[in-house]
C-alpha cells in the first residue's frame, strides 16, 4: 500500500488546482487546514447521533399499543427524516469548514464569476528611489512617485474588501516591507501607500523582489498572487550590477506570481548630473596648488551648461558653458590655492535646469593639510641623531633646508616625530597620518591591537626590518591582526640583491615617479639582507617592488602594499637605514619615501563625505571637545550623536541615517567639521529601458508590461474568485433548512399539546 506523508497530504489539499485542465472550474484553498478540519468534523454529528442512541431514559408505558401503531405507521418517514437531518448536519459542518478554508475558483470559470468575490494576494512594489522624483508634470501627479502612489491607490480601491490582501514593499535602498504580511485592511493599505516617501537614495529592486519571493514561499496557501511593480524602468535601476540576481529572482517570481510592471517613465526623459567631485590627489595642502575634479554626465539628451565651482561660499573661477553628454571628460578646477588648513567643502553644480534637480550639485568635504604629522618608531636607538634605525627616514621625509629661515628647519609639509618603540604605547595614534616602524623587535598585543585599529580607521603603517626584528613575535602577534602581508619565513643574506625595476617596465603606481627616469638609484641599490615573507592570499597583497630572482631565491617581494580596513600597510623587506642595504644612500630613497606617504596616506575626511542613507560615524582617532552634535538646518537645532559599540568593541559616535543631500555641520566642542551628503551617483541614468529589456532583465519570463495607467475592467477581472462567501451563504441556508426540518419533524422541543 502506498503511504501518503502529511506533507503530501497538505500539498494535495493546498494545491488542488486544475485550472489548466479542461475542467471549467478549479479550486484551491487559502487556508486548507479548515477544509481538512471541516471534513473531519463531519463525523461529529454522526458521533452525537450514535451517542444519543446509546444514552436513553426508560419509561414504563401503558398506552403501548398506540405507540407501537404510530411507530409501525411512521417508521419509514421517521427514518427518512433522521437520515436527511443527519445528512444536513454533516453537510453543514463540512461546508462551514470549506467556507472558512476560502476555496478559490479560477478566473475563466463562469461558475466562479457567479459565485465568488475576488480573493488574491497583491504584492505592490513601489520604487521610491531618487530617480522617481523626476518631474513628469502629469495632472495631479507631478513626479513619477506621485503617479506610482496614485496608481497603487486606484489598484487598492478596486480590490475586494475582505477577499483581497495586500503587501507593500518599497524598492529604495534598502528595500523595505512596509506591510510585511498580507493585510486585508485596505483602508490601512491606502494610508501606507500615502506614506511612501520620496527618498534620495538608489534603487534596490533585487532586494524588493527578494522580499516578494520570500513572501510567496511563506504564503504558499494563497494560490492567486499578483506582483505589481511600479518603477520608472531606468537604466540605473535595472542595470546596476544586480542583473544576475534580478534574472534569477524574475524566474522564481514568475512561478509564484502573475507579474505586472507599470512603466512610469517618459519616452524621452533625460537627466544631467554631477557624479563626482574630488581632489586631484590624496592630500589637499596649503603650500601647493591643488586640483579638483568633477565628473558630469547627461543621460539622454546632451545639455549646454556651465559648471559652477565653489569652495565654501566662495565661487571659484571658471564655469564657462560646455556640452554635457555621456562622454564628457572630467572637468578640472586647477590651481586652487588654499590659504589655511582645516576643513572646507568644495562643490560643483550644473547651472542648467532639468527635471531631476537633486543630482545637479555635488559636494565634497576636504581637510586641508598645512602640515602632516608622521610618527617614526625606532627599535634601535643610538647615541647620536643618526644612530637610530629611523634616522634616515626622518631625513628623507623632512630634509633640512640649507637656507634655514628662522623657526623653520625644513620646507617639507611632512612633520615626522621620532620615538622609541617603548614610547609607542603612550601615543595617541590618531594624531598622525602615518606610522613608520623601523627595526622594531616586537609589539605587545595591546599595542598591536591599537595599531590595527588605527589602520582600520584609515591610518597608514610602514614596516622596515633590521637585526632587532623577532620573527616569532612578528608572526605570532602582527600576522593574525593583518598588520603584516604574511609570516616572515627566512632571513636572506648575500653579496647583494638588486631590485627588479625597469624605468620602462610595467611598474606599480607607487613607483610612477620613477617612470622613465634613468639611474634613479632603484635599479642600482644593493640589498645585503632581507626577510622573506609568504604573503597571505586573503589579504590581496600587491607587490610594489620585488628582488631580482637568483639561483638561490626566486623574485621575493621587496616592498608590498595591502589594505586593512580603511587603511594601508606597507612592508619593506629590508632596513630603513644602511645596515642591510645601500638604498638609503641613493637619491631615490627620498623620493620613494615621499611617494609612499603621498600614495598611501588617505585624506582623513572620509567620515565627512557620505551618501544619503549612510550614518555619520566619527573615527575614534579624532579628538573631540565634547559630545558631537549635528546641526539640523530645518529645525535650527543641534541633535546629539549617539554613542554605539561596534562589533570590535570600540565605541563610536553615530548619527541616524542621513536622509537628505546637502552640507551639514558637525560640532564637537571646540572642533567642528562640515559633512557633505550626496545622492548616489549610480542612480542618475534615467534613460528608460524598453518593456522587452525589462522582460529580459527578469529572465525572459512572462511579464504584463503596462504603462502609467491601470488596465481596464476586463483585465482586472482575471482574479481568483473566492467561494468562501457563497459557501457561507449556503451554510446559512442549510442552517435555516435544518431548523425548519427539525421543527417540522418534531425534533425540537415545543409546548405540550393535549389530545382532543
Amino acid at each position: 500500500m502506498t503511504e501518503i506523508t502529511p506533507d503530501q497530504l497538505l500539498l494535495l489539499h493546498s494545491t488542488f488546482d486544475i485550472r489548466h485542465s479542461a475542467f471549467p472550474l478549479a479550486f484551491s484553498f487559502i487556508t486548507p487546514a479548515f477544509a481538512i478540519i471541516g471534513l473531519l468534523a463531519v463525523s461529529i454529528p454522526i458521533i452525537i447521533h450514535l451517542l444519543n442512541r446509546r444514552r436513553y431514559k426508560e419509561q414504563q408505558w401503558a398506552a403501548m399499543q398506540f405507540l407501537l401503531a404510530a411507530m409501525r405507521k411512521n417508521r419509514r418517514r421517521l427514518k427518512f427524516e433522521q437520515w436527511i437531518l443527519l445528512a444536513t448536519r454533516c453537510a453543514l459542518v463540512a461546508l462551514l469548514g470549506l467556507a472558512l478554508a476560502r476555496p478559490l475558483g479560477c478566473a475563466d470559470s463562469a461558475i466562479g464569476r457567479l459565485a465568488g468575490r475576488s480573493a488574491a494576494m497583491h504584492v505592490i512594489v513601489i520604487d521610491n528611489s531618487y530617480s522617481m522624483a523626476y518631474q513628469a508634470d502629469r495632472p495631479d501627479a507631478p513626479t513619477h512617485l506621485d503617479q506610482a502612489r496614485k496608481l497603487a491607490r486606484q489598484l487598492v480601491d478596486g480590490l475586494s474588501s475582505g477577499g483581497d490582501s495586500v503587501v507593500l514593499i518599497t524598492a529604495s535602498q534598502p528595500a523595505t516591507a512596509v506591510i510585511a504580511k498580507p493585510s486585508y485592511d485596505l483602508v490601512g493599505v491606502l494610508a501606507s501607500i500615502d506614506r511612501v516617501s520620496q527618498r534620495m537614495v538608489g534603487t534596490d529592486l533585487a532586494g524588493a523582489l527578494a522580499i516578494a519571493e520570500q513572501l510567496a514561499r511563506e504564503e504558499a496557501g494563497q494560490p492567486n498572487r499578483t506582483l505589481h511593480l511600479f518603477s520608472d524602468a531606468t537604466t540605473s535601476a535595472w542595470r546596476n550590477g544586480q542583473e544576475k540576481a534580478l534574472e534569477t529572482l524574475g524566474q522564481q517570481l514568475a512561478e509564484q506570481y502573475a507579474i505586472r510592471h507599470y512603466n512610469l517613465s517618459l519616452p524621452s526623459q533625460s537627466n544631467a548630473a554631477v557624479l563626482d567631485v574630488s581632489p586631484g590627489s590624496n592630500l589637499v595642502r596649503t603650500r601647493f596648488a591643488n586640483d579638483f575634479r568633477a565628473v558630469v554626465r547627461s543621460y539622454g539628451a546632451s545639455v549646454e551648461s556651465g559648471v559652477l565651482w565653489k569652495l565654501g561660499d566662495e565661487t571659484l573661477p571658471g564655469g564657462s558653458a560646455i556640452t554635457i553628454d555621456q562622454q564628457t571628460p572630467p572637468i578640472t578646477q586647477s590651481n586652487a590655492q588654499l590659504r589655511a588648513g582645516g576643513s572646507a567643502v568644495v562643490s560643483a553644480q550644473i547651472v542648467a535646469d532639468d527635471r531631476l534637480k537633486v543630482d545637479n550639485a555635488r559636494y565634497h568635504a576636504i581637510e586641508v593639510a598645512s602640515e602632516m604629522k608622521l610618527l617614526i618608531v625606532e627599535g634601535r636607538r643610538g647615541m647620536s641623531q643618526m644612530d637610530g634605525s629611523g634616522a634616515f627616514l626622518e631625513l628623507a621625509l623632512a630634509p633640512p633646508t640649507l637656507d634655514t629661515q628662522p623657526g623653520r628647519t625644513t620646507t617639507s609639509y611632512l612633520k615626522p616625530e621620532r620615538i622609541s618603540d617603548i614610547e609607542l604605547a603612550g601615543k595617541v595614534l590618531g594624531e598622525y597620518r602615518a606610522i613608520l616602524l623601523a627595526d622594531v623587535a616586537q609589539l605587545a598585543a595591546p599595542v598591536a591591537d591599537q595599531l590595527a585599529a588605527y589602520v582600520k580607521q584609515g591610518g597608514t603603517v610602514v614596516w622596515f626590518q633590521g637585526d632587532q626584528v623577532q620573527r616569532e613575535a612578528y608572526n605570532g602577534i602582527l600576522v593574525p591582526r593583518g598588520l603584516l602581508p604574511g609570516p616572515l619565513t627566512q632571513r636572506q643574506s648575500g653579496a647583494g640583491y638588486a631590485f627588479n625595476f625597469s624605468p620602462t617596465g610595467n611598474n606599480h603606481p607607487l613607483l610612477n615617479a620613477f617612470k622613465g627616469v634613468d639611474r634613479s638609484g632603484l635599479e642600482t641599490a644593493q640589498v645585503f639582507t632581507y626577510w622573506q615573507i609568504a604573503p597571505k592570499e586573503d589579504l590581496r597583497v600587491e607587490n610594489v617592488l620585488t628582488f631580482q630572482s637568483t639561483s638561490a631565491s626566486a623574485a621575493d617581494p621587496a616592498m608590498t602594499l595591502h589594505r586593512l580596513g580603511e587603511g594601508k600597510v606597507v612592508f619593506f623587506a629590508s632596513s630603513a637605514d644602511a645596515e642591510w642595504t645601500s638604498f638609503p644612500a641613493k637619491p631615490a630613497y627620498v623620493t620613494l619615501m615621499h611617494e609612499i606617504v603621498a600614495g598611501t596616506v588617505a585624506g582623513s575626511e572620509r567620515f565627512m563625505n557620505l551618501t544619503v542613507g549612510q550614518r555619520i560615524e566619527i573615527p575614534t582617532t579624532r579628538e573631540l571637545g565634547g559630545v558631537p552634535t549635528l546641526h539640523n538646518a530645518d529645525t535650527n537645532a543641534d541633535e546629539p550623536l549617539v554613542q554605539v559599540t561596534r562589533s570590535d568593541g570600540s565605541a563610536v559616535y553615530q548619527s541616524p541615517p542621513m536622509e537628505k543631500p546637502g552640507v551639514f555641520r558637525l560640532n564637537a566642542g571646540k572642533v567642528s567639521w562640515p559633512v557633505a551628503v550626496n545622492v548616489p551617483a549610480d542612480e542618475a541614468d534615467v534613460r528608460p529601458l524598453s518593456d522587452e529589456a525589462i522582460r529580459t532583465a527578469l529572465g525572459n519570463v512572462e511579464v504584463a508590461t503596462l504603462g502609467a495607467e491601470l488596465p481596464g475592467e476586463a483585465e482586472s477581472e482575471e482574479e481568483g474568485r473566492d467561494f468562501g462567501w457563497a459557501l457561507m451563504a449556503i451554510v446559512l441556508a442549510l442552517l435555516g433548512f435544518e431548523c425548519f426540518m427539525a421543527m417540522r419533524f418534531g425534533h425540537y422541543r415545543k409546548g405540550a399539546a393535549a389530545t382532543k
Binding site: R55, A62, A63, A70
Partner: protein, 307 residues
C-alpha cells in the same frame, strides 16, 4: 363564599386526595364538592324519574322548562322529577396492569389511573347509597376477579370502599369477556358504570358493551387517562417498556409524538362513536384534573341528556 369554595376545591385535586388514605373520606369530599358547586341534588343526575309538570313561576330555574309543551300549548310548564328508588348501580372497575400507570408523583407515590378510578367509584357509590339505591361492585383484569352483588344495606358502601382499596394483581386486561360475564350475572335492569382506560381490543369492548345493552342495562363508560398519556411530553430518546406484556420500543419521542397522539385520538374517537351508537354515556377523565369538576360535568351532561 367564593373563597370558601375555592379553598374547598383545593382539597379535591388528585394530589391532595391522594394524601387522604381513607377512600370513604375521599369519596365524601368529592361528593360534597359536587354538591357545593351545584346547589342541586347530586343524586338527581345519576338516577332520576319524571314525576309531573307544574306551572312556571318567576324565579324558577328555566333549565327545567318543558320546551316541548311550550311549543305545543304555548304554556310554560316545568318538569318535576322524582328520585328513583329501586335502581341498581353496578360499578365495574378495571384493575389491569395498565391502570397501575401514574405519572403524578405525590410524596414518592404515584397517583395512578386506578387511584383515580376507585375514587370515582367510591364517590358514585356514596351518592347512590345516599339515595337508597343498591350498589354493586365488580373488579376485573383479564377476568372478573371480585364481584359483589348490589345491595342497599347501610354496610354496602363500607364493603365497597374496603374492596376497592385492596391492591390489585396487575394482570392483563380482558374487558370484553368480563362485560359478558357481568351481563350474565346481573339479571335486574341496572346502571352499569365501567371505569377503565379501555386499553384493549376495541371489538372485544364493543362486544361486551353490546351484550350489556342487550340485557337492557344502562351503561356509562368512564375512560380514565393519565396526564402523560394525553400529552406525551417526552423529549429525550426513551425506551418505552410496555405494560401488559406489550414489548418495548426505543425511540425519539419528539418525532413520534404526533403519530402517537393521532393513534390515541383515533382510538378514543372510535370508542366515543361506538358509545353513541349504543346510547352509552361516555366521559373522559384525566388524572391531573380535579375529580369533582369532572364528575359534576358528567352529571350535568347526563342530566341534560335525560331531559
Amino acid at each position: 363564599m367564593a373563597d370558601s369554595l375555592t379553598d374547598y376545591r383545593r382539597y379535591l385535586d388528585p394530589r391532595t386526595l391522594a394524601k387522604i388514605s381513607s377512600l370513604e373520606l375521599r369519596a365524601r369530599l368529592i361528593v360534597e364538592g359536587v354538591m357545593t358547586g351545584s346547589h342541586r341534588s347530586p343524586y338527581q343526575g345519576i338516577s332520576v324519574e319524571f314525576a309531573q309538570h307544574r306551572p312556571y313561576t318567576p324565579g324558577d330555574d328555566i333549565r327545567h322548562v318543558d320546551w316541548k309543551v311550550l311549543a305545543r300549548a304555548d304554556k310554560v310548564y316545568l318538569k318535576q322529577y322524582q328520585e328513583e328508588t329501586n335502581l341498581q348501580l353496578i360499578l365495574v372497575v378495571d384493575a389491569s396492569e395498565s391502570m397501575g400507570f401514574g405519572s403524578i408523583d405525590v410524596g414518592g407515590m404515584p397517583w395512578t389511573k386506578y387511584d383515580h378510578a376507585i375514587s370515582l367509584a367510591a364517590s358514585l357509590a356514596y351518592m347512590a347509597v345516599h339515595q337508597a339505591d343498591s350498589v354493586g361492585l365488580a373488579i376485573f383484569d383479564q377476568q372478573l376477579s371480585r364481584y359483589f352483588k348490589p345491595s342497599n344495606s347501610p354496610t354496602q358502601w363500607k364493603l365497597i370502599t374496603s374492596e376497592l382499596q385492596q391492591v390489585p394483581r396487575w394482570n392483563k386486561t380482558g374487558i370484553g369477556k368480563v362485560l359478558d360475564q357481568i351481563a350474565e350475572k346481573v339479571t335486574h335492569r341496572s346502571v352499569v358504570v365501567l371505569l377503565s382506560d379501555c386499553f384493549d381490543d376495541l371489538d372485544a369492548i364493543k362486544k361486551g358493551l353490546r351484550h350489556l345493552r342487550y340485557k337492557k342495562h344502562e351503561v356509562i363508560l368512564m375512560q380514565i387517562f393519565d396526564e402523560q398519556e394525553v400529552n406525551f411530553p417526552f423529549e429525550d430518546v426513551t425506551l418505552f417498556k410496555g405494560l401488559e406484556e406489550l414489548g418495548q420500543l426505543l425511540t425519539e419521542p419528539r418525532a413520534l409524538r404526533d403519530g402517537y397522539l393521532e393513534q390515541l385520538n383515533e382510538f378514543t374517537d372510535q370508542l366515543k362513536k361506538l358509545c353513541r351508537g349504543m346510547n352509552i354515556d361516555y366521559q373522559r377523565f384525566v388524572t391531573n384534573e380535579p375529580l369533582d369538576v369532572s364528575l359534576s360535568q358528567f352529571l350535568a351532561n347526563r342530566s341534560a341528556s335525560m331531559r
